[in-house]
Structures are given as structure tokens and as C-alpha cells.
């Protein structure tokens, strides 16, 4: 069985948001990690490898330094690693990103593609299903359990109030939730071997079946009109000398204003 796992290197927005002394976001200071949903997807692939035997190839699209997450994946047990990197691919929205990655995957053989549900920087949850669309594959999102049954997969697909047990014939694309599993640690041996391993690097020209109209900033249907970073909060509003009704009303109004009710 051949499994392709898509991973992304992201700043650690979940655990380690860093601020400059003036309170603004310090992106450069933040640790770069493997996106948590993707790590769970990789772990799922490695468990399938342990159980059924499989070749696991990790693919990432990013800056040259994204090599680090590929090495981490190899150290966890992945077999091959591919880095898709090229200045011309930069500034891509989810349409352009998914088009690019799909073009890369067309160079590979696969029975299953696993992506994370969403990245903790973009937070869109779109690239996985869009890759499936470009490749004409059935997609099963929000997987909370993955099993193989002959030439098919049996996946538990999570919804807000229930889950479906779905069966689909491979090839198939599955998106994984961080809650899917507890990813394994790397091993010292894995690390040493990963550092010596060869990572395949593809530039734009290695991607066939990909039109320039669909890559990078120019190939992105969505455009950023403006963006601003939040500032770390200082002390807030303190209300004294209110009676119980006044105090309760003040809180309630705040909750309504902020759409919590």
C-alpha cells in the first residue's frame, strides 16, 4: 500500500505566540512546527504501515526551511520525503496551493492521501478537500478513525453531533483531526538516519499538468484587502460601585455584543 501524507510547517500559534515588547506579534520569534492535524495524519499513516505494511511518502509545499518538518517525519518513520519549493509558488491561496500540491502528487503512485484537517496559521480546512477535487478522488474529512479492508478504507467521519462509518474504494483522500491519535515521538535512530536521508526537491518546472494561471499570488482567486495583527491585551475594564442588577446587566450586554449569546 502506498500512502502520501501532506504536511505543513507552521508557526506555533497554538502553543507559543510571541509578542514584541511593544505588544505586537513577533512572527520571526515563533517556533516553526509540524502542523498538529498533519502530525496526526502522519501518525495514522505510520500506524497503517505498522499494521498492514505500507510505504509512506511525506510531501510539503513551502520555503526551503520546511525541510525540517520532512526530516521530523522521516525520523518518526516515514520512508520518503518531497519538498515542493519555488519562489513562483509563493503567495498562494488555497486554490493555488491545492492545485500545486495536486500537481506534485500526480508524479507519485498512491492508494491513499492523508492531509490534516486545517493548519493553525491559515485555519481554512480547504486545501485537503480541494486537492481531492483536483485529483478526482473521493474525500472523507474529519476522520476520527481509519481502517483498511482489502481495497477499501473504513473511516469514521466526525460531524457536530454524530459520526458516520464510511466505506470507500481506494484511491481516496482523507483529512485527519489532531484528536485522531497521539503521535509517536521520533527516535534517536530515526533522527540520525533522517539527517542523512535524501529529500527530493521539486521546483515549479517539475510539476506537470499545472498552468501558471493557477499558481502563486497571481493564480489565487482570493486576495487580501487588508490584514492587521492583534495586540496583546493589557488590563481591562474594572467596574465598581454597581449594584447587583447593574453588574449583571453590564456583563450580559458585553456577552450579547460579542455574540456569545
Amino acid at each position: 500500500m502506498k500512502i502520501v501524507v501532506c504536511v505543513k510547517q507552521v508557526p506555533d500559534t497554538a502553543g507559543g505566540v510571541k509578542f514584541k515588547p511593544d505588544g505586537t506579534l513577533d512572527r520571526a520569534a515563533m517556533l516553526a512546527i509540524m502542523n498538529p492535524d498533519d502530525k496526526a495524519g502522519l501518525e495514522a499513516a505510520l500506524r497503517l504501515k505498522d499494521q498492514y505494511g505500507a510505504e509512506v511518502t511525506v510531501v510539503t509545499m513551502g520555503l526551503p526551511k520546511a525541510d525540517a518538518v520532512l526530516r521530523e517525519a522521516l525520523a518518526m518513520g516515514a520512508d520518503k520525503a518531497i519538498l515542493i519549493t519555488d519562489r513562483r509558488l509563493g503567495g498562494a491561496d488555497t486554490w493555488a496551493t491545492s492545485s500545486t500540491i495536486a500537481a506534485g502528487i500526480r508524479n507519485l503512485e498512491y492508494d491513499m492521501i492523508i492531509t490534516g484537517r486545517q493548519a493553525i496559521d491559515g485555519d481554512t480546512a480547504q486545501v485537503g478537500p480541494q486537492i481531492a477535487e483536483h485529483l478526482g478522488l473521493p474525500v472523507i474529512s474529519y476522520a476520527q478513525d481509519i481502517k483498511v479492508d482489502g481495497d477499501s478504507v473504513i473511516v469514521q467521519r466526525q460531524y457536530d453531533d454524530r459520526y458516520h462509518v464510511l466505506k470507500a474504494k481506494m484511491p481516496v483522500l482523507i483529512t485527519a483531526l489532531a484528536e485522531l491519535n497521539e503521535p509517536r515521538y521520533m527516535t534517536p535512530k530515526g533522527i540520525w538516519e533522517a539527517c542523512d536521508a535524501e529529500v527530493t526537491v521539486w521546483g515549479r518546472d517539475d510539476l506537470k499538468d499545472l498552468s501558471d494561471e493557477n499558481i502563486g499570488l497571481a493564480g489565487s482567486p482570493t486576495k487580501i484587502a487588508k490584514a492587521s495583527d492583534k495586540v496583546r491585551k493589557g488590563a481591562g475594564t474594572i467596574l465598581k460601585d454597581l449594584d447587583a442588577d447593574g453588574a449583571a446587566a453590564a456583563i450580559c450586554n458585553t456577552l450579547v455584543e460579542k455574540h456569545y449569546i
Partner: protein, 388 residues
């Protein structure tokens, strides 16, 4: 000379750091309060190869080097002195002598399971009458047909009741050396469960309270002839070689404890306010921290240097790293004691309260000045080399 870690060692450090933060740190206080051996942590370490870091791949190990093992010890010791000594006793004091002096059969029999963490290793040299004066050994081993018969006891043995494989040093006879009668001392591999091998007192300790420290008792304990480790009469040399490597482990444990203490103290002094400001604003605090940082960094360099020296020879002779190891242990242990004591002081009253980690770190630090060769022995070793 490049003092930075290369890619693989950096990645290894980040693995050990994550492991220590997620798996070791949450249990540290509990292990200390309950004097409980971290059995579940050993299983987790085993799962990611940490029980066989230096063991070659052909014996089921990770095939990494002493420096990688030192990084693991350092990260673990930063959060838990107990868990660190479990790893050190297992790796430096049991795996190392078998890899260095064992026959191929012995290596095949013991190393894969030790490397997999299925078995835990330990080392028994110390006796009630033989501490610094290791030659004061009384435990005897007598050859009877195809078996050695052991009689005697060992005390203060790390991983005591939890281990499965023990390197036991015993007296096998007398030899004449330069006209003087001396004890012939040899080394043996003893498995738990061997009839005649029982456990005595569990020691209640000041620190590393989760470490299983036990008395081992041998009463007509019969082990196969094949369990002699190395040549007969070479037991003392084997023990000294083993302790040379062990000193790197303990130096690292001390280093980690000092670093962990310094880290939490730096965080604390930034938060703790007295007289309207953080105590970090006072020059006394700043100077204390600066002094400690310089010593801790120096200790780290000495530890890494000793590990690098050992990596030049692998499981070969300790003559090229023994002194470096002794210096590292001497300096790191005294640094750990000094740093943890000063850090408790900087925490003030809270430094004395068990809910805070710092007092445990001070209690854990003390033993590093004592076991695997006291600081006094380190001075003897270093000066002897100087004055040769």
C-alpha cells in the same frame, strides 16, 4: 572548533526536551512524594528508543553516540533527578560494561533486551564496608563445577529492586602483586530471580527518592560459569572503567539539575514582587543569577567535552576520557549543589515549600557529590593524573 551542536544532535535534543516536558515533568513531584519508581516512564522511554541510545543497531539499539545519550540525560535531569538516574544506572553502569567487556554470547543474550528497555540494568559494587575504599569488597564468588557461587551483600544499589540484570563485583581469590597479597576481584552478570539472590532494605533517601535504592543479598546464589564478565581478576579494572563512564552520566544529571533550577528561578524572580517591583530588578538577584549562569555553562562544556572524548573510543579504553569525566563530575556536582542552594534562597519562603520544585532539586543535587565516586575521590583521580 565548533561549539554548536550539529543538526542531528539538535533534533535529538528537541526530541528529549519534548519527551521530558510531556512525560517526565508532570510526574516529578509525585515520584518524589511517594518514593515511587517511574515504571511507566521507563516503558515510554523504551518505546522511543531511549533505553538503548548508545547501543549499536545490530544489537537492537539506536546506534547513536555518547553525546546523544548525554543530551537525553540533560533534558530529563532538568525536570526530574530520579528519572535521570534510572537511565544513567541502566545505560552507563550496565549496558556499557557488557558492551565493553562482554563475549559475543553475553552481548547477544543481554544487550537487545536492555536496549529495548524490556530489561533494566544495574551495577553492584558498594558494600557496607566498601565505599570509597572499593577494595574493601567482601562479597565472594567461588567456582564450583560449572557454576559460580556468590555470597555477600551490596548496598545502596540504584535501580535495586526494579532491575533485571546486575553487574556484580566480587572477590574470587587472592593474588600476589609485587610481593604483596591482594584480593583477586572479578565481575559477574547476575539475573534477577536467580535462587539465592534476594533484596534487603529499601533505603529512604534525602533526594532522588523515586530511585529504587536497595540492598542486594546473595546467599549461595549459583550463576552459570558463562556469567563471568571479562577475565577473571579483572573485576576491579572493569568496575573502574564502568565508573569512568558513569561519571559522565552523573555529571550530566548534576548539570541538568542545575540548569532546571536556574530556569525556574529566572522565571520566578521576574514574577515575584516585593517593595513594588519584581525581585529580578535588584542587583543582588542579578549578580547571583549571573554567577550561576557562568558556572552552569562551564559545567555544560566540561560534560560535552567528556562525552566527545568517550565518542572517540566508543566502548574502548577509558584512559582517554576518565580524567575529563572526573573533572566534569567534580565541577558539575559542586555547581549543582551551589546553584540549587542559592536558588532556594532566591525563592525565599516559597523555596522551602514542597509544592515548589526547587527544594526537591536541592535535595536531588546533593547525591551527585557523593555517588559513583565522591568529590574527594574525583580530586584524588585528577591530582594523580597531574602528578604522574
Amino acid at each position: 572548533m565548533d561549539f554548536t551542536l550539529d543538526k542531528k544532535h539538535e533534533m535529538a535534543r528537541s526530541l528529549f526536551h519534548d519527551f521530558a516536558q510531556n512525560e517526565v515533568k508532570p510526574l516529578a513531584q509525585e515520584l518524589d512524594e511517594e518514593e515511587r519508581f517511574p515504571r511507566e516512564t521507563v516503558e515510554k522511554m523504551a518505546k522511543c528508543g531511549m533505553m538503548g541510545i548508545t547501543v549499536p543497531k545490530e544489537y537492537g539499539g539506536q546506534g547513536c553516540d555518547e553525546l546523544t545519550y548525554v543530551l537525553a540525560m540533560e533534558e530529563i535531569a532538568k525536570v526530574c533527578g530520579t528519572t535521570a538516574v534510572v537511565l544513567s544506572g541502566h545505560t552507563s553502569l550496565c549496558i556499557d560494561p557488557i558492551m565493553t567487556f562482554g563475549t559475543e554470547e553475553q552481548k547477544q543474550k543481554y544487550i537487545p533486551k536492555l536496549a529495548a528497555g524490556e530489561w533494566i540494568g544495574a551495577f553492584g559494587l558498594t558494600e557496607p564496608g566498601a565505599g570509597t575504599d572499593a577494595q574493601g569488597q567482601q562479597t565472594k564468588a567461588v567456582l564450583d563445577g560449572d557454576e559460580w557461587v556468590l555470597n555477600g551483600s551490596k548496598c545502596f544499589i540504584t535501580n535495586g529492586k526494579e532491575a533485571n540484570v546486575y553487574i556484580i563485583i566480587a572477590v574470587t581469590g587472592t593474588v600476589e602483586k609485587r610481593g604483596r597479597k591482594m584480593k583477586e576481584i572479578s565481575a559477574f552478570i547476575v539475573e534477577k530471580g536467580t535462587p539465592g539472590f534476594t533484596f534487603g532494605t529499601k533505603e529512604k533517601k534525602m533526594g532522588i527518592r523515586g530511585s529504587s535504592t536497595y540492598e542486594l543479598i546473595f546467599t549461595d546464589c549459583r550463576i552459570p560459569k558463562e556469567n563471568l564478565l571479562g577475565q577473571i581478576g579483572k573485576g576491579f579494572a572493569i568496575a573502574m572503567h564502568t565508573l569512568d563512564g558513569g561519571r559522565i552520566g552523573i555529571a550530566t544529571q548534576a548539570l541538568g539539575i542545575a540548569e532546571g533550577a536556574l530556569d525556574i528561578t529566572v522565571d520566578y524572580v521576574k514574577e515575584r514582587k516585593q517593595f513594588g517591583r519584581a525581585i529580578a530588578a535588584f542587583q543582588n538577584t542579578q549578580f547571583q543569577l549571573a554567577n550561576m549562569k557562568a558556572r552552569v555553562d562551564a559545567a555544560q562544556l566540561m560534560v560535552y567535552k567528556a562525552a566527545a572524548a568517550k565518542d572517540q573510543v566508543g566502548f574502548g579504553s577509558a584512559s582517554s576520557y576518565g580524567i575529563a569525566a572526573a573533572e566534569a563530575k567534580l565541577f558539575a556536582a559542586e555547581t549543582a549543589m551551589e546553584v540549587t542552594t542559592k536558588c532556594v534562597q532566591l525563592f525565599g519562603g516559597y523555596g522551602y515549600i514542597r509544592e515548589y520544585d526547587i527544594e526537591r532539586m536541592m535535595r536531588d543535587a546533593k547525591i551527585t557529590e557523593i555517588y559513583e565516586g565522591t568529590s574527594e575521590v574525583m580530586r584524588m583521580v585528577i591530582s594523580a593524573a597531574l602528578l604522574k
